[in-house]
Symmetry: C2
Subunit: 480 residues, 2 copies
């Protein structure tokens, strides 16, 4: 590990520990005073207290906003707000952008409208658009009034695009040049900048009306003779550009595929109106995959780990309610066969195996299909072929594992027909699972819904109720 | 959508459709000849055939390697190999790097060692290291012999680092400069390059022995007066650098947090030995989250959607086997209470609800804890606090949903004590689920295992067997 730098990757955890230590020392003093174990010698107390707070503030001032966000997320509620108060007001805006939604909410709650307004005004239009949904309407109103007409236009545009579109991710920081100037002129133009926008790896070459003519990479600016004209060295094809209405997921895949750092966003007439950068794309990719993982467990959103019990219950209840309904339906399916179970109680012990393995197998199928659909590699026409393959896999697994379980059931209960029913039920339920595992995401895709969402609940519901029905039904027909 | 460019994000699907169409036309001719419905007029046949193939080849030559990889993944086995044969040999290497592992295997299988060797030799050392595990040993041997000593050293280094380390992701393409020269000298130096390495946003400033002294961003090179010396404008602190042994996941988080495009990789003496770029990090992030999603469903790796039934069975069997064992254990727990079920058959219908809701709730808890651990925000010392909160959530959910189900059980079976047992069992199983949901990932983390892996199976196993045991046990004690 390199220790000499401030920003080594492990440092953020080091920073967190240091802040926690300073907080702990601060807390000890407070506790002692509070419990009256230390004489209330106000001067001493005040000095010790102030010293710790100053040290902490000093520490925070030297940290990157993303690191402060990280520390805020890792602190329990009281300490989080204590640290938040110590952060310089002019950094509030950039830190609010970095923290998770749940923590952002907890911070904004405690802020005065004037503080919020000041924080919001320190941001660019595209950043402001990200923060806006969490701000009180009157604050947005005030901030909007304070913008110039270009800023208002940008903010209105940025807020008008749906969440998963390129428009919602793009920023408005870009450097454009004309094609009929020399590189020398461009170089002189750039030297007038105090700094370039983050992630500038290319300049956009535009005509008088901002129509995109090509791109001039910093690389070609640097390696070519300065006497050359922009038009000679700019790239005109392929230029990868996006429109604000494009799907952010497609854009992210293009960034990955072509290793982009930035790309122009153009309107319907091919005029440059903004820019998409890899930083926004990385954040988007991370958020998307987080959302998918969380949704698998039925968590609506990333949870503040220090959220109250009640907030956690609210974040999780709807999923539990859905599962309760499906479990209840499965329970009624079993209820319909209570006579059979009374006659052959072994059925009660064996039925959860049939249901459970069906659910597992169906989820494997659907996970694979969802990935393939997300990559755009599965046309609806491929459904038949995939269905055939999945049914094949289900048949093999059913005969293999179902056969094994059939033998075990036979051995445990000394009942050959029971073993055969077990094998048959396993095979049929796995076939049902495969059918549902292919059909549910395919149908959701065709209906325009996100194929990744909710599939797991539906499949488990089907394989549970279906598994119980198949197994108990077969048993009732053939064993009783 | 902008239609005038070759590389619009949606275009890759367009490319795929066009290739599929050309393949279909090709297939029609082949089929007709094969079925003897078309007279075997060889000249005509050959011409038609050649024309389609030439068109297809022409199309492929104009595509980005990543796009060809995408198309290969989306084609069934026969067509995939047909297209693969049409790809120019010198592009084989870069395309093999882009395709998924499963598809890469299917392509390499069909290639002659000499072809593989030629493909491998077209790659950089770090790319070769990525491909090496899939190549036959004799090919690697040959390629290794053909490298110069620097290349051999790099290849050996790149292959020596574990998969999830910075060393495995880094490349060796970088531009270094000295601190005592002027920017003008640097600019002249860069103009001697044909091209800069991909993702060059900064040059690394080193001394005579390659020790990292600072970084010179292209931005500062461009906006500053060329008369200035590198030492005046380079950034010395904070410089974010990594060591090859660093965890790739930490590095990825640093790239996200600080919006990096490239960063130097240094050895123990702070000498620059390589470079990490955002492109590698983006691929890593995507692969990691894919692996996590796949592992939730027990898929060992991304599956070729056109894999044979048998390959699919192999990819999925181990997970099914584990689930079968846990389901069997749960089944034996039920088996131990067969007498109770015989006496009160309602238990058989109600018990899956208790087990199922426990599993869902436990998975919610563990998903949240795993995320917090991955961010490094949960110290082992926070376990007690988190456990208290999760137990609180479980208690609320148990009393709420368990109470509701108790009332329903009472109403369905007209049996008050059964309703009370139902509520009590739900609450206890949710408490068990919460305990396991916090403890399992925490313990895995403490034991140095990946907290994200396998947790879901263990929790479901516990809440299934535990749920059946608690419910049937309580019922046996209080109802019979």
């Amino acid at each position: 590990m390199t220790q000499q730098e401030e920003h080594h990757p492990d440092d953020v955890q080091q920073h967190l520990r240091e802040v926690q230590e300073l907080l702990a020392r601060h807390r000890v003093v407070e506790d002692l005073v509070h419990r009256q174990e230390m004489p209330r010698h106000e001067l001493v107390e005040g000095l010790v207290h102030k010293q710790h707070v100053a040290e902490l503030q000093n520490r925070l001032d030297r940290l990157h906003p993303a690191d402060i966000a990280y520390i805020l997320e890792a602190l329990p509620h009281d300490e989080r707000l204590f640290v938040w108060d110590l952060v310089k007001a002019e950094r509030d805006g950039e830190i609010l952008l970095e923290v998770s939604d749940a923590v952002r909410e907890s911070l904004i709650e405690t802020m005065h409208p004037d503080e919020l307004k000041a924080a919001a005004e320190s941001l660019d239009a595209d950043e402001l658009a990200d923060l806006a949904p969490d701000l009180p309407p009157e604050v947005i109103q005030d901030v909007f009034q304070s913008l110039d007409s270009e800023g208002r236009e940008q903010l209105r545009a940025a807020m008008s695009y749906p969440e998963d579109s390129v428009g919602a991710l793009m920023d408005f920081d870009m450097v454009t040049v004309r094609e009929d100037v020399t590189l020398e002129v461009v170089l002189r133009y750039l030297r007038r900048f105090e700094e370039l926008p983050d992630h500038t790896d290319k300049l956009f070459v535009v005509d008088r009306d901002d129509h995109l003519k090509g791109i001039l990479t910093l690389e070609s600016l640097l390696i070519n003779d300065p006497e050359k004209e922009v038009a000679e060295v700019m790239r005109t094809e392929p230029v990868i550009s996006f429109e604000p209405g494009d799907d952010a997921d497609d854009a992210a895949q293009a960034f990955e595929r072509y290793d982009l750092i930035s790309a122009p966003v153009v309107d319907g007439e091919h005029r440059v109106i903004g820019r998409l950068t890899v930083a926004d794309v990385v954040d988007f990719i991370r958020e998307e995959s987080e959302a998918e993982i969380l949704s698998h467990a039925g968590l609506r959103e990333e949870e503040d780990i220090f959220a109250s019990v009640w907030d956690s219950v609210k974040n999780r209840w709807s999923w539990l309610a859905v599962n309760l309904v499906t479990a209840f339906i499965a329970s009624r399916v079993i209820g319909a066969f209570e006579d059979s179970i009374e006659k052959l109680v072994a059925l009660a012990a064996l039925m959860p195996i049939v249901a459970g393995i069906g659910g597992n197998s169906g989820n494997q199928t659907t996970t694979m299909i969802v990935r393939a659909i997300a990559m755009g590699q599965v046309e609806q026409s491929a459904m038949k072929r995939l269905m055939k393959k999945e049914l094949g896999v289900a048949l093999v697994n059913g005969l293999l594992w179902g056969g094994l379980l059939g033998v075990i059931a036979w051995w445990l209960y000394d009942n050959v027909p029971l073993g055969i029913v077990m094998t048959a039920a396993m095979t049929l339920n796995l076939l049902l699972a495969a059918t549902a595992g292919v059909a549910i995401p395919m149908l959701r895709e065709r209906l325009g819904a996100d194929p990744a969402m909710g599939g797991s609940v539906m499949i488990t519901a089907l394989t549970d109720s279906g598994g119980f029905f198949i197994f108990l039904g077969l048993a009732t027909i053939f064993l009783l």
